[in-house]
């Protein structure tokens, strides 16, 4: 649905942040963009949103290049939205409900529809109980959920999440993963940038590695994460499931539950064999 063609972006100060990027978000339902700090992940997202305009190359949405007129972008941003890394910079109201409703009201939904959509997305993100609380009383993880709820409420086809788990505790991270899976199950395309390799390996089915503004590798999670030299070069690490596969010769599993199941079956077998 969304593709980039030789996308090139240079900031005004001459920093070349993206070099001839070709990505195709149709290759997976949950796409991961991984890369160290300054690799260009956020810049790529801002280009995909039409906020930054490529210096060269183009972005294709439904087989046509996106345009930069106000009316086109208004339409476009109802179908694709972005959750920024820092929740404080995208929450404008101190009332959770009003903030989640903000984009819907901008688009012009009736107040009844707004109410329904907002309540649904608050429930989906698990913050319905705190909707009356002032935002500055919330924890970082809760604010992050408010930001995500604001985007979910818009019911976009494509949702970009810039480092959704940065700074979250394990429970919150699991929670976010659950929300993302639910959205993907509803048929939405999800794109996640992150340098949390375990998270990406767990949740994504197609992964791009970005290094200094260039795509240096792409493929399914297994393909990408087995390439240790490239990961090292990019300052990234292998997920632990891939590591134990490489180092201990255990088969490669996508989820830790699969490993535990395999392990207990293996051990059950060997204890059978030891029986006289």
């Amino acid at each position: 649905m969304i593709k980039t063609n030789d996308l090139f972006y240079e900031y005004k100060d001459g920093t070349i942040a993206l070099k001839d990027i070709n990505i195709d978000l149709n290759k997976g339902s949950i796409t991961g963009i991984i890369g160290g700090n300054g690799a260009g992940k956020s810049t790529l997202f801002l280009n995909l949103m039409g906020i930054l305009r490529p210096t060269a190359g183009s972005i294709e949405f439904k087989n046509e290049n996106i345009k930069y007129s106000k009316s086109y972008l208004n339409e476009y941003r109802q179908k694709i939205s972005l959750v920024f890394q820092d929740p404080d910079k995208q929450i404008f109201y101190s009332n959770v409900f009003d903030d989640v409703a903000f984009a819907l009201r901008n688009i012009g939904y009736s107040e009844d529809e707004v109410k329904k959509k907002v309540n649904d997305s608050l429930k989906e993100t698990g913050i319905y109980e705190i909707k009356e609380r002032p935002v500055h009383f919330l924890s970082y993880g809760q604010k992050k959920r408010v930001a995500i709820a604001g985007v979910i409420a818009m019911d976009c086809d494509v949702i970009l999440l810039d480092e959704p788990t940065a700074g979250l505790d394990p429970v919150m991270t699991h929670g976010i993963a659950g929300i993302i899976r639910k959205l993907a199950a509803q048929g939405k395309k999800i794109v996640i940038s992150s340098h949390d390799m375990n998270f990406i390996y767990d949740i994504c089915n197609y992964v791009y590695i970005l290094k200094k503004g260039e795509i240096v590798k792409q493929g399914t999670g297994e393909e990408v994460f087995l390439d240790e030299p490239v990961l090292k070069e990019c300052g990234l690490e292998q997920p632990w499931l891939v590591k134990i596969h490489k180092k201990l010769g255990i088969p490669l599993f996508k989820k830790e539950e699969h490993l535990y199941k395999y392990w207990s079956e293996e051990n059950a077998d060997s204890s059978d064999r030891n029986q006289p």
């Binding site: 404008f92 901008n106 009383f137």
Partner: protein, 226 residues
């Protein structure tokens, strides 16, 4: 986070009907401004204190502390009203002669000062009653009810939100400076304050840019819905 804001959101009156609270406070303010009767002013002051302490359940000492800063301004201005200067002793109740002039307190200035003092206290009490028992979300409801212009309400919402962001950023930086011995002595304090001001300014400008981007993503069209 502002202490006053914590009170507003977490006391026994927080969730009560905002219009009734607003009506009480508004009536108190109006009466205090319109009458010059010292006893009415005192009554309002005492009633507000009783409401805040007994009904809302805010500690009396905490409430008193809130008056510290305004009280210093108040006393200074009252003192200047109280004392007048004249070349003759005239109708001064008490006076001192200094450099050929009489500095003293007259009957009129005494009454005036007394009235202003009690009126200020009454107005202050009514205002504190509002800020301590009506959280912002309810204040917005009241503002809408009395048909405040939309743009004023929009600004109120945005300012309130960004004051808390600003304070958080300020106190984080303040702590960091303190941790790095930024306030060890007069000289380093001087430098730390300048660093703080400069950095805060830069951060505000950067935040402004980020917020603009976030607004664009949410299809902002110039209207803040409140």
């Amino acid at each position: 986070m502002l202490q006053i804001d914590i009170y507003a959101n977490s006391n026994r009156l927080s969730t009560r009907n905002p219009y009734i609270k607003g009506l009480w406070a508004g009536a108190g303010l109006l009466i205090a401004i319109m009458t010059s009767n010292v006893y009415v002013h005192m009554a309002i002051t005492v009633l507000a204190a009783l409401a805040v302490v007994l009904m809302a359940g805010i500690k009396f000492t905490a409430y008193l502390k809130l008056f510290r800063i305004p009280a210093s301004f108040l006393l200074l201005s009252i003192a200047t009203i109280l004392v007048s200067v004249s070349p003759a002793r005239g109708d001064f109740l008490v006076s001192v002669k200094l450099l050929g002039f009489y500095f003293g307190i007259s009957d009129g200035s005494l009454n005036m000062a007394m009235m202003l003092l009690t009126r200020s206290l009454a107005c202050l009490s009514a205002t504190y009653f509002i800020s301590l028992t009506i959280p912002l979300n309810q204040i917005i409801l009241i503002l809408k009810k009395i048909r405040t212009p939309r743009s004023v309400i929009e600004m109120t919402v945005l300012m309130y939100r960004f004051i808390s962001v600003f304070i958080e950023e300020f106190s984080d930086m303040q702590n960091a400076l303190e941790m790095k011995s930024g306030y060890r002595n007069f000289k380093t304090s001087y430098r730390s304050v300048s660093i703080l001001a400069g950095t805060l300014f830069l951060r505000v400008m950067n935040s402004y840019k980020d917020w603009k981007t976030a607004l664009e993503v949410k299809n902002y069209n110039g209207n803040f819905y409140v």
